[in-house]
């Protein structure tokens, strides 16, 4: 690596990615980092960003040191720090895979959380970002997320994705027979005559908003209308 490139700042659509040299000792890296932050600070103008460190495994402590430098020496408002993830690095850095980055089939959705267990009648869980439920949502249970919801189980209760008005959020589940499904401010309810029930329980389905209506279709590799701009 060229000596200027021990620390590289990279703006991505979901925030700021900082690539770090993996060979330098941390103290030297820290100096380079500080210098780079001071040099670049005029670009930042107190923008609100999510931060990702890449290229090097950082301990909690080391990460904290860098974040402190960044917030002191620049006007950045750090809203969220992504964990370092080596596989994640490969997707974005490895030259032979770099075409994936341009693919529309890959996108970043910010914060994703996981929930393990069944959401039972009377239980209501809310998430600020995206959520993956590893379990079922039973009748009378409610899952609400500001972004999308993925359920690795069957949905019989109420799910509300994009609870703060994001109609680009989606809901996907292994078995989809929700009592009520809401995306953004659009509400749809289960049909009174559930003659189509078998179709949506025997196959994974995805629901999303298209032309102001909630559409539900099997996850079969087509999904042509998904993520077309609303």
């Amino acid at each position: 690596m060229h000596h200027d490139n021990h620390v590289i700042f990279k703006g991505t659509k979901d925030g700021l990615t900082i690539l770090l040299d993996n060979e330098l000792d941390f103290v030297t890296l820290q100096e380079h980092f500080e210098k780079k932050v001071v040099d670049a600070s005029r670009f930042f103008h107190g923008a609100k960003v999510a931060l990702t460190f890449q290229g090097r495994e950082l301990s909690e402590e080391e990460q904290q040191i860098l974040v402190t430098i960044l917030s002191k020496k620049s006007q950045l408002d750090i809203s969220f720090i992504h964990g370092t993830d080596t596989d994640h690095d490969k997707i974005f850095i490895s030259p032979e895979q770099s075409n994936i980055e341009k693919s529309t089939n890959v996108w970043d959705e910010g914060k994703v959380r996981f929930y393990k267990g069944t959401i039972r009648s009377g239980q209501r869980i809310e998430f600020a970002g995206n959520v993956v439920i590893i379990g079922d949502v039973n009748p009378g249970g409610q899952v609400i997320a500001e972004e999308s919801i993925v359920i690795l189980g069957s949905v019989k209760g109420m799910v509300h994705a994009g609870s703060r008005g994001n109609v680009k959020a989606f809901v996907a589940a292994l078995s989809m027979t929700p009592m009520q499904l809401r995306i953004g401010n659009i509400i749809s309810r289960s049909p009174d005559e559930d003659d189509n029930q078998n179709a949506s329980t025997s196959m994974a389905h995805i629901a999303y908003v298209y032309e102001q209506r909630i559409c539900m279709e099997p996850i079969d590799g087509k999904m042509d209308y998904l993520f077309l701009k609303n």
Partner: protein, 265 residues
């Protein structure tokens, strides 16, 4: 090691009291020392089902308020050695005791008994909170009806929130012929929704009504299929592995004969 088991359901009328009486009697028949607590203050009826109503002097509220000692309030069931009932007060309501008092009472009883079964009132309010306060395990009773299953689901959620993990499910009043015709939820459907371990399936049995009215739990009747189901559940509570009862065994002679000749469906 003694255990406090709460028998609960959410919905009323699914057979909590009958279950408590039968499992208690079953455990006593297996030579265990059993205490039954009726936590349904104000609507007591475990004493009636057990046929011990006329012997109540002190009750649960008297005990927690210190009007008597626990031993004075416990009614000994003379038919089965080692079985005692702590009846609920009829003139008070659920707010007469607190979860802390209930917990303390259960701890006291644990010193003298192998099993303490708590008959929980319907609902999710104070009475429910009291009943589960001292429990180590829970048995959730449901019937194969959508409303009962929904309430059972709610209860399981509340139990888990109160650190009573892995409650066991008892499906009561199953009518094998209706299930077969598709008119009643099958055990598999119930289990798919509730996703908890099943401790037993009890068939619908007219004899239960008769035995409840007489104050003799069905578990003592060797000819009753429901009694057999309760005997199996008793064994499972004690840690034995017993296969689930085949409810279709309960067929008339003619049906069995027809089946033999391949005439029956």
């Amino acid at each position: 090691m003694s255990e406090v088991i709460v028998i609960t359901s959410g919905k009323g009328g699914v057979g909590k009291t009958t279950t408590t009486a039968n499992l208690g009697t079953g455990l006593a028949l297996a030579e265990k020392k059993v205490a039954l607590i009726d936590a349904d203050i104000g609507l007591r009826n475990l004493d009636v089902v057990m046929g011990l109503e006329n012997r109540i002097v002190y009750d649960l509220v008297d005990v927690v308020e210190g009007h008597c000692r626990v031993r004075q309030a416990l009614i000994k069931d003379k038919r089965y050695s080692g079985m005692f009932l702590l009846p609920a007060a009829q003139t008070r309501d659920k707010n007469a005791i607190s979860p802390e008092q209930m917990q303390k009472l259960c701890e006291t009883l644990k010193e003298d008994f192998d099993y303490i079964l708590v008959d929980c009132p319907a609902g999710i309010e104070q009475g429910f909170k009291n009943a589960i306060a001292g429990a180590d395990r829970a048995i959730v009773v449901t019937t194969p009806e959508v409303s009962a299953v929904r309430d059972a689901d709610r209860i399981i959620g509340l139990l888990e929130a109160n650190d009573l993990r892995n409650p066991k499910l008892l499906v009561n009043r199953v009518k094998a012929d209706m299930v077969k015709r598709g008119d009643m939820m099958a055990i598999e459907d119930v289990m798919e929704i509730l996703a908890v371990d099943i401790i037993g399936v009890v068939p619908d049995d007219d004899q239960i009504v008769v035995s409840s009215n007489r104050g003799e739990p069905a578990v003592t009747d060797p000819n009753s299929l429901a009694g057999q189901a309760y005997r199996n559940i008793t064994k499972r509570i004690m840690g034995e592995e017993v296969p689930l009862l085949n409810l279709e065994e309960h067929q008339g002679f003619m049906q069995r004969l027809k089946k033999m000749f391949g005439l029956s469906v």
